[in-house]
Symmetry: C2
Subunit: 235 residues, 2 copies
């Protein structure tokens, strides 16, 4: 059974790394998992990042290994009890997943073995059908924007409402998503605000966390959803 | 002689389309140009966009044709007196330039014939070495991030300083550019704020407009530049 915990962002303003979702992570992994495999590819300093993630996971009772510390990324994924992919630059992350040949490996472990998958920000983006709705800067060119495809829609993490007082003339987030939906085959885009989490168990999806999500579907008006909303219709 | 007018954005808050740079456009094109070829590819509604651009250029004495109105994009570029590429989504724009086979055609007209090139926002992004520093959402996958390469560095248009009062936890613009500079071969990034223009004549580059630019170079502290600053060292 597919099991996913897709977090908008790791750190809420005024609190520490993963503080706002440690409880959900603990419930999601339970005692069945002893060690989490961490993918730090979205950031440049992988050791530093792994150190940060390790500290947070140790606090809730889990060991954590950085995939870059292992001899083979493919083997590491094949043997992982659980996977956590952290945020940073989504393009750098996706390109590295392709370089390391683990896009399909992750898909298989999640679908065939029910390996629990936790993502934050960029780690949430790459869990979806594609990275077409990332906010990140295209600092490196991946071979495709297709991602791991654990859910068949797009997510826009750190979703931000337009600021009515802003004098900035760049496109709003909503405008950008609207432009994506000018393409005929574009899937729904779930905008998850900071503090929002999407929890998937098999064919059931539920919003968790402390903020609302905004769903954009091509040709329709956007719709707001609150924590505990059933989002299974998106799967 | 290479002649470029690279504008950060078309419309300043509180004023109309191209109002803030019509004077510079008129000086740049002079009476030598009668008709401007407009490339509306960054937006979905090309007719509407061409209508808007036509109105603005008519006001300062130029005819304007939309490249999509012509039988052949390649021929249109080969015969153009001057080119204006408007803003919108940079990925959509660049992909279409590749689809229409005009990336090299534009390069040749600018370098071999001194065809004047005016860009705004996305139109400025594609004039540079690559679109690696666009702010736009990757709504479509182009065959490369390499762009027309009329200047050998990157530009970040609509450059925005970090907001000290923001509670938003997504990366600041400066942070994103810093991440780009984690790559060894990454060129300088010129952040041009809204209202800023880079004017290039041959091997001379000058800042124009009403706002400052911020230059990011890998391994160095960022430096501010004001209108009239000589930026030729970047070429
Ligand atoms: Ca990011
Ligand atoms: Ca844009």
């Amino acid at each position: 059974m597919r099991r996913l915990l897709l977090i908008s962002n790791s750190t809420l303003h005024g609190s520490g790394y993963l503080d706002h979702c440690k409880k959900q992570i603990k419930e999601f992994l339970s005692d069945k998992v002893k060690t989490v495999l961490f993918v730090p590819y979205a950031l440049h300093d992988r050791d530093d990042y792994t150190s940060t993630a390790r500290k947070a996971y140790n606090e809730i009772g889990y060991q954590l290994e950085g995939i870059h510390e292992k001899p083979s990324a493919v083997e590491a994924v094949r043997q992982a009890e659980a996977l956590f992919i952290g945020g940073g630059n989504t393009f750098r992350l996706l390109k590295t997943l392709y370089d390391e040949n683990i896009v399909d490996e992750i898909y298989k472990r999640v679908y065939n073995d029910g390996m629990p998958y936790i993502g934050s920000s960029a780690g949430t983006n790459v869990a979806t059908v594609s990275i077409n709705t990332t906010n990140d800067m295209p600092i490196v060119f991946p071979p495709s924007f297709k991602a791991i495809n654990l859910v068949p829609f797009n997510i826009n993490a750190h979703y931000q409402d337009p600021d009515p007082n802003s004098k900035h003339m760049g496109e709003t987030r909503a405008k950008r998503i609207e432009q994506y939906h000018e393409y005929e085959d574009s899937p729904p885009v779930l905008g998850i605000r900071e503090g929002c989490i999407l929890h998937v168990e098999g064919d059931k999806a539920t919003l968790r966390g402390v903020t609302d999500a905004r769903l954009f579907v091509r040709g329709k008006e956007p719709v707001e959803y609150k924590p505990d909303a059933d989002m299974s219709f998106l799967l």
